[in-house]
């Protein structure tokens, strides 16, 4: 569990190493301008020193604006090509932002996080 204090309080994320990569679950309902910088730093810190893909589970996120989208892209760039950033469990409002901006084209997007992906083959 990795928590960071922000202007809004806490960017709450948890991490789990899975066979598919490092699963980072975002437990915030909103990734917006108020927490974009803190979100980026929290995910970067959680992935620091580990190898392989990073899967960002956004299943609890019900609002993402272009600031939040920019933060997700920034995380992808910080991780670099050796550590691809995947997304999982986009809620409809979040999926809409990726679709409208065509940024869904640059991420591998899973319907479910890795443990559930294994269960369903």
């Amino acid at each position: 569990m990795n928590k960071r204090r922000t202007r809004e309080g806490i960017v709450d994320i948890s991490t789990n190493q899975t066979a598919a990569g490092l699963l980072v679950k975002v437990k915030e309902p909103r990734i917006d301008a108020a927490v974009a910088i803190e979100f980026k730093e929290a995910v970067r810190a959680a992935a620091d020193g580990k190898d392989g893909p990073v899967i960002l589970d956004l299943g609890d996120v019900t609002f993402l604006d272009s600031s939040g989208l920019g933060a997700v892209v920034a995380v992808m760039k910080l991780l670099g090509p050796q550590r691809p950033l995947h997304l999982a469990s986009l809620t409809p409002p979040v999926a809409k932002v990726f679709r409208l901006t065509r940024m869904d084209s640059i991420f591998t997007i899973h319907q479910h996080p890795p443990c559930e992906m294994k269960a369903t083959g």
Binding site: R7, R30, D32, A33, F63, S66, K77, P93, K96
Partner: protein, 167 residues
């Protein structure tokens, strides 16, 4: 854009009635006045969405409205009040054509006196992956009747969010 067939074909509502309904106790207009800022934007959006949800706006329309307003309000914080602090006035009305929105600030005017109309940022991975520049594309994609006027220190941006349904 017209209403979906499911609404257009609803049997004979009185012609003056809008194609969605709102609860009689819910006002048809939502007004908020707040200081511009990231946390204030968040609070205002939560309050507005709560009101729209109670008015019966469907979740898909609600999420579009929240996203549009977020982009507009973020722009005000970042640009209109880049070097100052100030107030934002938000007014949303349920009308026949959709949610009619008026957002006013008292900061710097938009460059060239018009709301920007930038193309979607170029996406060409791995070298060209944009982190920003999406805001106006999102606003223009999801609204109609976008208009801006600047008058005696007040910037007024108005637009309509077309409604596709209701809960």
């Amino acid at each position: 854009m017209g209403l979906p067939a499911s609404h257009a074909m609803t049997a004979a509502p009185p012609t003056d009635e809008p194609p969605w309904r709102w609860h009689s106790e819910t006002p048809k207009r939502i007004r908020r006045r707040f200081p511009a800022g990231d946390t204030e934007t968040r609070s205002a959006l939560l309050a507005v969405c709560d009101g729209l949800r109670r008015a019966g706006i469907c979740e898909d329309d609600l999420s579009s409205t929240e996203l549009i307003l977020a982009e507009v309000l973020n722009n005000i914080v970042e640009h209109a009040y880049a070097d100052s602090v100030g107030i934002v006035d938000l007014c949303i009305e349920l009308r026949h054509e959709g949610l009619s929105c008026l957002v006013r600030d008292y900061g710097s005017a938009m460059p060239n006196g018009n709301p920007p109309c930038p193309p979607l940022p170029r996406i060409n991975p791995p070298h060209e992956v944009p982190e920003g520049g999406f805001g106006w594309h999102i606003i223009r994609s999801l609204t109609t009747q976008l208009a801006y006027r600047q008058d005696e220190g007040c910037n007024a941006l108005s637009f309509v969010v077309p409604l596709t349904g209701y809960d």
